[in-house]
């Protein structure tokens, strides 16, 4: 069943070129709790393609919790999250979005390439060596491809792990869920990441972002959600 489904999807992609699996995100009366206490309640928002959604709020307002729910990593206590494709069919969070949290999600004993291809395989992305090299080049760390992740400096680690977001075959193919992505980045990398987010948005993606830093992002459409 799995195989048939995926071959079908692959065939579609091959024939028409580009299928954007996430063209809208809809939160309906979403609520979450942690340790039996409500973190936020009744969050409803509609996000269309090419939109940057900034999630704002003080510490403990549940920004990370919200992002984890959007990524399918946590269950809401009430309400629903719907990722939809352009043909209005529903998508699972993992097909629709990629999540980048505080941790790098890279094992120190493995090389950058090994770590990234593992992440791609689990995200259901067919990651060719070319994609991998391109993603690392975009972040200026293509030389690190065969280095052990544990041997990299903090800045290099951050860049190498951000490359995970760029592994998709086409720009704009997946939504990005970024939890405080600018933390611990130098100003150059911040600008670079902001530019990449802008490109991704322009290509049709949804980007959901929590950030305490005011980094300028060139977004076609921008929405804010206050928790």
């Amino acid at each position: 069943m799995y195989c048939g489904y995926c071959v079908g999807l692959g065939g579609l992609q091959g024939a028409r070129g580009f299928v954007n699996p996430c063209s809208s995100l809809r939160l309906e009366a979403l609520a979450a709790e942690r340790g039996g206490k409500a973190v936020f309640t009744d969050v409803s928002v509609n996000v269309e393609a090419r939109t940057l959604l900034r999630v704002l709020g003080p510490n403990g307002a549940g920004k990370t919790t919200l992002l984890r729910i959007l990524a399918g990593l946590g269950a809401p206590s009430a309400g629903s999250v719907q990722w939809r494709a352009p043909d209005d069919s529903e998508r699972s969070p993992n097909e629709a979005a990629m999540f980048a949290g505080h941790a790098n999600a890279m094992n120190e004993a493995l090389t950058v390439a090994e770590n990234l291809s593992y992440a791609a395989a689990l995200a259901g992305i067919d990651c060719t060596p070319m994609n991998l090299r391109r993603a690392l080049t975009q972040l200026g760390v293509e030389k690190l491809i065969n280095r052990r992740f544990g041997s990299l400096s903090q800045g290099q680690r951050k860049r190498a792990s951000l490359a995970r977001l760029l592994l998709r075959a086409q720009a704009g193919e997946r939504a990005w869920l970024l939890d405080e992505p600018f933390v611990a980045l130098d100003t150059d990398t911040q600008a670079q990441l902001a530019a990449l987010i802008g490109e991704e948005l322009a290509a049709g993606a949804i980007v959901v972002l929590t950030s305490h830093q005011a980094v300028a992002i060139n977004a076609p459409k921008m929405q804010e959600l206050m928790l």
Binding site: A105, N107, A109
Partner: protein, 224 residues
């Protein structure tokens, strides 16, 4: 297709880690060796006495050594964030966990199985008994890791770590212990070990069917 890609990736990564970090299999073996060499100091060095306790000591040693490897399953990944890659995947979590335990069983199981007959020499056990003990350990390690995976998954986000894992897992491993050591005891007594081996096989199959599902549920509970 992508299920195969994902399970393949999980399996490959575990094997890469095993090859990359010698301590992953060297430490359990060294621990195993030390446990096995402690007992003669406690009970005396007469070979008749050692022969009697040898099977039990070696089997319990292998059991404890595989328990020490349980944090490798999820805890490490939870710390560096890569556990989320597995949790977020659209592929069934139980299958991914099974791939992971399979890889760990092959790596750790091979290491412990090779070490077992060597340590059996400490206890003056005949070759046929040592061989049966090695076979028993080879059958038991996957079962132990499968059971242990449930506890390891539950404890990803709890206090108490290693001790609590032991408290949860060890009572559940008693049947495996009984029949694993039992098979070698049979050979020592000149009897046929077939019944014990068959039961061990049955436990392994049962664990294969149930434990990945339980571990997946456990992981969802503890990371939600």
């Amino acid at each position: 297709m992508s299920l195969r890609a994902a399970t393949g990736a999980v399996f490959r990564r575990e094997m890469q880690l095993f090859a990359r970090r010698k301590s992953d299999w060297a430490n359990p073996i060294v621990f195993f060796l030390i446990v096995c060499s402690l007992f003669p100091f406690a009970v005396g060095s007469e070979s008749e006495k050692l022969k009697l306790i040898g099977i039990g000591v070696i089997f319990v040693g292998a059991l404890l050594a595989s328990m020490l490897s349980l944090p490798r399953l999820f805890e490490e990944d939870a710390r560096d964030g890569s556990l989320e890659l597995m949790l977020a995947s659209s592929e069934p979590l139980a299958v991914l966990i099974l791939a992971r335990i399979t890889a760990l069983s092959l790596g750790l199981g091979a290491a412990l199985t090779v070490a077992t007959p060597v340590f059996a020499l400490f206890y003056a056990l005949p070759f046929d008994v040592a061989g049966m003990l090695a076979l028993s350990v080879a059958l038991a390690v996957p079962t132990l890791l499968l059971i242990g995976a449930i506890a390891a998954a539950l404890l990803v986000s709890a206090r108490g770590g290693a001790i609590l894992t032991a408290v949860l897992v060890l009572p559940l491993t008693i049947p495996t212990l009984i029949f694993g050591a039992g098979a070698a005891l049979r050979v020592l007594n000149g009897q046929s070990p077939v019944a014990e081996l068959a039961l061990q096989g049955a436990f392994l199959l049962l664990a294969l069917a149930l434990c990945p599902l339980a571990a997946a549920a456990a992981l969802k509970i503890s990371t939600d």
